[in-house]
Amino acid sequence: GAGVSQSPRYKVAKRGQDVALRCDPISGHVSLFWYQQALGQGPEFLTYFQNEAQLDKSGLPSDRFFAERPEGSVSTLKIQRTQQEDSAVYLCASSLGNVYTEAFFGQGTRLTVV
């Protein structure tokens, strides 16, 4: 595709429900990142993949958050037992993988936990 595609665009979950957010990176992009953006704030790093390897997951807020990229392409961010504080926009970005190359962001998934 032309850019990073994220689905769904909007998700409303009841507190305690599990959710799965999908990211389709730009074809051929080796690196993939997930960020969380609270309303009126800058994005906060969650996790980083190089191909299928998860190189850094230091930003995941709790063990309820889990990300995977099993075949080195599509990635899924899963949040178990959602809480109200999980409400945010979840952004995915991808890049060619070389240091300092541009990271292209998707439009994000807006998660609202009620």
């Binding site: 990073v4 990142f33 704030q41 994005p43 790093f45 300092y100 541009e102 990271a103």
Partner: protein, 115 residues
Amino acid sequence: QQQVKQSPQSLIVQKGGIPIINCAYENTAFDYFPWYQQFPGKGPALLIAIRPDVSEKKEGRFTISFNKSAKQFSLHIMDSQPGDSATYFCAASTGTTDSWGKLQFGAGTQVVVTP
């Protein structure tokens, strides 16, 4: 704690004015400093980026100034237009293979350019 501090939170300028956004950092290991532009409902888009080996970089109407000793960098938008109205984020990261993509973002500056 926020590793990149950004100011101001918001600013309003008239068309043709020069909005200036400032960022400061503490981690001397940072060596990649991008600026992103974000419109409502969209993801951030890279505007311009700088490495510490240069003090200034220009791309079109956007200029980054970098002061390594002060650990500060700023974005200037020359001849600003109403279409530049957006939220701007500075960011920083280290240039190692396993960490360069871990961008530390500032809190953002909402810029409004009036006609």
